[in-house]
């Protein structure tokens, strides 16, 4: 049996690695077109691509608008994007679990669109168990 790494340590290290990949290592990624883009160019339908409605956004194309330095603009966009993914996914998972714990309540036909997930500030906290405890208080009070 190998030595056990605490769950909290594991999550913190994993998150640090992810942020390092998004914020620093991403600068060294290949900038060649990916498989689909390449095939589209070769087959001759690359020009049918339309610009995304979000193409003028502050983080569009993995570059923070207004930041001149390539490394900083890309790394910052990666970190902000990764933080958004973390917050949304933890929030969504939290909602799925909370909905499951309320038995007898008719399922309110939740939208499958993850965009509707409320951005619970605590969702950015990687320690999921603590939210559950924090949420149970007011819920129990309501019953």
């Amino acid at each position: 049996m190998s030595r056990t790494v605490r769950t909290r340590t594991f999550l913190v290290v994993g998150l640090a690695v992810a942020m390092l990949l998004a914020g620093v290592v991403s600068y060294y990624a290949s900038s060649h077109p990916d498989g689909l883009e390449h095939v589209a160019e070769q087959a001759g339908f690359a020009d049918t691509a339309e610009e995304s409605a979000t193409a003028d956004g502050p983080l569009a194309d993995y570059r923070v608008k207004g930041v001149e330095d390539d490394r900083a603009a890309g790394g910052l966009a990666g970190v902000v994007g990764a933080a958004a993914v973390l917050a949304l996914s933890l929030g969504l998972v939290h909602l799925v679990r909370r909905r499951g714990s309320r038995t007898g309540e008719p399922s309110a036909g939740p939208s499958p669109d993850p965009a509707t997930v409320p951005d619970n500030g605590r969702a950015t906290d990687p320690e999921g168990s603590r939210h559950a405890d924090a949420e149970r208080g007011p819920l129990d009070g309501r019953r």
């Binding site: 060649h32 990916d34 390449h38 691509a49 995304s52 956004g57 983080l59 958004a84 949304l88 996914s89």
Partner: protein, 231 residues
């Protein structure tokens, strides 16, 4: 493999939007059974890790690159239903914040990467796990096999969608051959990354790997029976 707006016509995009909504809706119901205090934070970590790794395009042949899709990786680490939610969040954030993948193509991208790629990767993993010895050490290898198949599967699904609703008249056999060829190569990268990441987690905390649970259960039984035999 993020599909931009304009590649597929409106009816096809609406159809994939419906498929994506149905798939994510089902995952919202089913993920509940996979989620506990240990797996819930893992779902957030896995989504963040897939997002970060998708930024790391690796070269494939001359002038082309590929990046991890992450479906098989997510499914093996946190379970298929939770994995669908994790990868869908990644695709949503990419489309909305980073203009990576079109807005009208979001349903297509969720269908291709979060549903087809992930489900195929998971089924290959589970199928192999069923017929092979249940060893914890095999889990990263099986995950890599699932990952390898998942990429050409998603590429083939795109070809199918393009055959139905592509906006340019492209010969289907040419498109299928090109998509399959390049994405089989990218699948090798997908397999290597998935194998390494799952292997790392299995080495440190095998109990945090959803796909390792059957093998861990067998190992516990063996330890118990060994203890019983020596007693």
């Amino acid at each position: 493999m993020h599909v931009p707006d304009g590649f597929l016509d409106a009816p096809t995009s609406v159809a994939t939007g419906v498929v994506a909504a149905a798939g994510v809706g089902l995952a919202l119901r089913k993920a509940r059974a996979e989620l506990d205090d240990r797996t819930a934070p893992m779902a957030g970590l896995v989504a963040t890790f897939v997002f970060a790794t998708q930024m790391l395009n690796f070269p494939v042949g001359l002038g082309t690159s590929g990046h991890l899709l992450g479906g098989a990786l997510a499914a093996v680490l946190v379970g298929p239903w939770t994995g669908i939610l994790s990868v869908s969040v990644v695709l949503l954030v990419q489309a909305l914040l980073l203009a990576d993948g079109g807005i009208t193509a979001l349903g297509t991208n969720i269908t291709l990467m979060s549903l087809v790629g992930l489900v195929v990767g998971w089924l290959v993993f589970r199928g192999l796990q069923r017929v092979l010895p249940k060893r914890v050490g095999l889990v990263p290898v099986l995950a890599a096999a699932g990952a390898f198949v998942s990429v050409p599967a998603a590429a083939l699904a795109f070809t199918g969608l393009y055959a139905v609703g592509g906006t340019a008249p492209i010969p289907l056999d040419t498109l299928a051959a090109a998509m399959l060829g390049w994405h089989t190569l990218i699948g090798v990268g997908e397999a290597v990354i998935t194998g390494l990441v799952v292997g790392s987690v299995v080495a440190v905390r095998p109990d945090l790997v959803y796909g390792a649970r059957p093998a861990l259960a067998v190992r516990t039984l063996e330890i118990r029976s060994d203890a019983g035999a020596s007693a």
